[in-house]
Amino acid sequence: MVVEIYVKPRTLFKVPVYASVLRPDTFVGKSPRELTDVYVLEGSKKVPLTELFDIEYQGSVPSSVEEITLHLVGDFSKVREICRRMTGGNVIIEGDVGAFLGYGMTGGRVIVRGNVGDWLGTHMCGGFIEVYGDVGNYVGASLPGEKPGKGMRGGIIIIHGSAGAEVGRGMRGGVVVVEGSSDALPGVNMRGGTIVIEGDCKGYPGLNMRDGRIVILGRVDDIVPTFYIDSIAEKVRVKELGREYRGTFLLLRGDAMADISCSGRLFISLDKNSHLRYLTELLGW
């Protein structure tokens, strides 16, 4: 049995709204009338969820998250922490969303037909997020001040648009694919997992990375000097997605600054980065 739940903002929010309750888990076993004791923060004020949003059920009261498809329709660009620690079910967002979407989520699917703010999938452990628009900084990241490797641990994030800086900061597992371009420093403090940037990258991928891999199909402005050239690769497989990228890739290892074993791997397209061709000369040594 499928339950479709539609959530629409009643007004245009002027201050940030913290609505971590907007996730399928909240609605399990709750009829629309029982939602009155669910609260969100509007600025610093605690207000009932139903006061800020129109909520409409199509179907009966759901008994598990897997039955739920949550539709968020409208402008959610000021609403933060949507789907925080979500464990399952489907969420479809028709519009823009604010920061911290899918913070620490462990399962389920989120599809966004719009743009997303910063901190998408921070501390994510599992599940699937697909964004059709652009995304802000720190996708699948760790929070400020945390130890390297405290970012995304598992799950898949696919972004059809482009992303901001520090994609996969402190990432430990899972996959992030950016089909557009990204700003600087993807995979900073990375300890595992895979980042694919199909477009261009502003530079310095994998700074202080110890493990994991970063694939860049477009142009990279510059790489950090603490990576060394390992070999030339002809293809990169991302088995979680069943995708395979073919071409000529420079395989670099590092970051020597983070760890002497240099287990982090950068795959950088040679065709798009003629300014890095000089690195191939070092391969003869």
């Binding site: 610093s44 929070l143 400020p144 001040g145 945390e146 130890k147």
Partner: protein
């Protein structure tokens, strides 16, 4: 405002009162005889069955200054876990567990019944910043101790063997930056660190470029402080802090005092002694050396201590002992900051996690308590966690419980590293602090050590009206058994009165007031001061990046100042 505290169970060791049921009257910010207050007019607090004690004094807590602020910047994750919300008209918002923001420091101290705090390490050149932050901390009285351990003037005057100049310079600097006493951190290490050396330098290692030894720095400044008549003489963080086997250096430092006379109060305060009480040769065979140290302290009345008790969890170590932080960074491999204050000192910051199952951390936890329990004279012991190095000051109630209850200690020891416990004597110590001893080590002793026992740390007539009232009846509650009740009562005082105003009620702040900054003004011979100042001026032009006129912190820059004048023999 007139206040009458009725029928409380009063502990006031400075006046020899031990658990008497009596009334305390307050008028114009002072404690007055009860007949001076009219019960009909006064604000009456019914303290029946409650513990009434003087406000607490924290002798060693890093709460203000550039290094504390850098710690805040370095640890955003520490601020996310602890947030205080804004309550209109009563308090600001703030955050931070081990590195709280200024207002939060004030709220948390006053809620625990503490009314005076001492910031124990400030580079003289950064004093303005330290005072600005102290001024921003509400409720409590405060003072700060400037660092003299690697100061070029001190090193220069010692090299010239000019004892008068050392004393005059100390007097001038304390007055200029509004400091309260001399602080020495790992003497000489900061200067040696400027040359990439100074890791674990001992009393007899020469400081590069100066031909002066750490031993000389301690000896000359101690001599100067005694001649200046400063009440709280050197406040010292001993050499080789944090290294296995360092207890021998601590013993040698204590023995340095033997050539000086026994005065009315200790002349050397060894701070966070726990970090300086390690036996063994390596981290692998570390052992507690608290017995050796306690024996020496019991023998030598010139020395007082505070504990530097370790609390399990992630803390932020910050110290002017920059080379040691370099060592610690290589153990933790997370974050590290290292700074140099021109011509004066250095500092380092590293977050560190104390683990219950760790061999080393278990021994550290035991040492602090062992020393407190083995030193027989409570008047020379003060509670501290060296906030935030060993743990946040908010954990003091637990330390009190561990000292007052063997059962509370045993409860913690069940979860500790067993190999570590075998290197400690804590499991075999039965002593439990009494109520009076608890009040001494948190109130009366620090007041006495600071030389403020006339106005602080007691409840006699004429004392400042700083009173803490806890909802616990010492006649009924046996802290040895009911230590949970003790912790609960001490965490949030029922009432706190600061400067004659009720500022805490039922464990929550009621309104904001601000305390005063204490500083010391030793008066020395004008001729000597003139000649030393001329020398200072010359060096300032040559070596400092600021001019002498901007170096001085003027009284009008501070919110409220209390001068302590001492007439010296220099």
């Amino acid at each position: 405002m007139e206040i009458l505290i009725r029928n409380g169970v009063v502990y006031d060791p400075l006046n020899g009162i031990e658990g008497e049921v009596m009334d305390i009257a307050i008028k114009d910010g002072k404690i007055v005889p009860t007949e001076k207050v009219d019960p009909k007019e006064a604000y009456v607090i019914d303290a029946r069955g409650m513990l009434v004690v003087p406000g607490g004094i924290d002798l060693h807590t890093h709460v203000a200054g550039p290094k504390v602020n850098l710690g805040r910047v370095m640890r955003p994750e520490d601020h996310r876990v602890s947030i205080l919300r804004y309550i209109p008209g009563r308090r600001h918002s703030g955050s931070g567990k081990t590195t709280p923001s200024t207002t939060v420091i004030g709220y948390r101290y006053i809620r625990m019944g503490y009314t005076m705090i001492i910031e124990p390490a400030s580079p003289p050149i950064k004093s303005r910043h330290t005072h600005e932050e102290l001024d921003d901390i509400p409720y409590v009285d405060k003072a700060m101790l400037p660092l003299f351990d690697s100061n070029w003037f001190i090193l220069k005057f010692i090299r010239e063997d000019a004892r008068d100049k050392v004393a005059t310079y100390i007097a001038w600097l304390l007055r200029t930056v509004k400091g309260y006493a001399v602080k020495l951190v790992d003497p000489g290490a900061g200067e040696a660190w400027g040359w990439g050396r100074g890791i674990g330098i001992s009393l007899d290692d020469e400081i590069p470029g100066w031909g002066v030894k750490p031993r000389d720095i301690i000896e000359y400044t101690l001599d100067a402080c005694i001649r200046l008549g400063i009440p709280h003489k050197v406040h010292i963080h001993c050499n080789r802090l944090g290294f296995p086997g360092n207890y021998e250096t601590t013993l040698e430092t204590i023995r340095l005092t033997e050539k000086f006379p026994i005065l009315d109060r200790p002349i050397m305060h060894i701070t966070h002694i726990q970090f300086n009480a390690y036996g063994g040769e390596t981290w692998g065979n570390l052992r507690s050396a608290s017995e050796e140290l306690a024996r020496e302290i019991n023998r030598n009345p010139r020395v007082s201590i505070d504990l530097g008790q370790v609390i399990f969890g992630t803390q932020t170590t910050m110290t002017a002992d920059a080379p040691y932080e370099y060592v610690l960074y290589h153990l933790t491999k997370w974050k590290w900051s290292s700074t140099d204050a021109e011509c004066e000192c250095a500092a380092g910051i590293v977050p560190y996690k104390y683990r219950k199952k760790s061999y080393v951390n278990t021994i550290q936890w035991c040492i602090g308590l062992e020393i407190a329990l083995l030193v027989r004279d409570p008047w020379r012991v003060v509670i501290s966690t060296d906030h935030p190095n060993g743990g946040p000051f908010t954990r003091y109630p637990w330390i009190v419980a561990w000292l007052m209850s063997k059962r509370a200690r045993d409860e913690v020891m069940k979860k500790l590293n067993e190999r570590g416990l075998r290197k400690c004597i804590l499991p075999s110590i039965d002593r439990e602090y009494t109520w009076t001893e608890f009040v001494i080590i948190t109130r009366a002793a620090p007041a006495k050590l600071l030389g403020l026992e006339k106005t602080k740390g007691h409840l006699g007539v004429g004392a400042d009206a700083d009173v803490a009232i806890y909802d616990i009846d010492p006649r009924e509650v046996d802290p040895s058994r009911d230590y949970e009740k003790l912790i609960k009562a001490l965490r949030r005082a029922k009432y706190v009165i600061k400067g004659g105003e009720v500022v805490v009620k039922d464990g929550e702040v009621t309104r904001v007031i601000y305390g005063s900054t204490y500083y010391i003004n030793p008066v020395v011979s004008p001729d000597l001061e003139k000649s030393v100042k001329a020398e200072i001026e010359q060096w300032f032009k040559r070596w400092y990046s600021v001019s002498l006129s901007t170096y001085e912190v003027r009284i009008e820059e501070l919110r409220s100042v209390k001068e302590v004048k001492v007439i010296s023999r220099v």
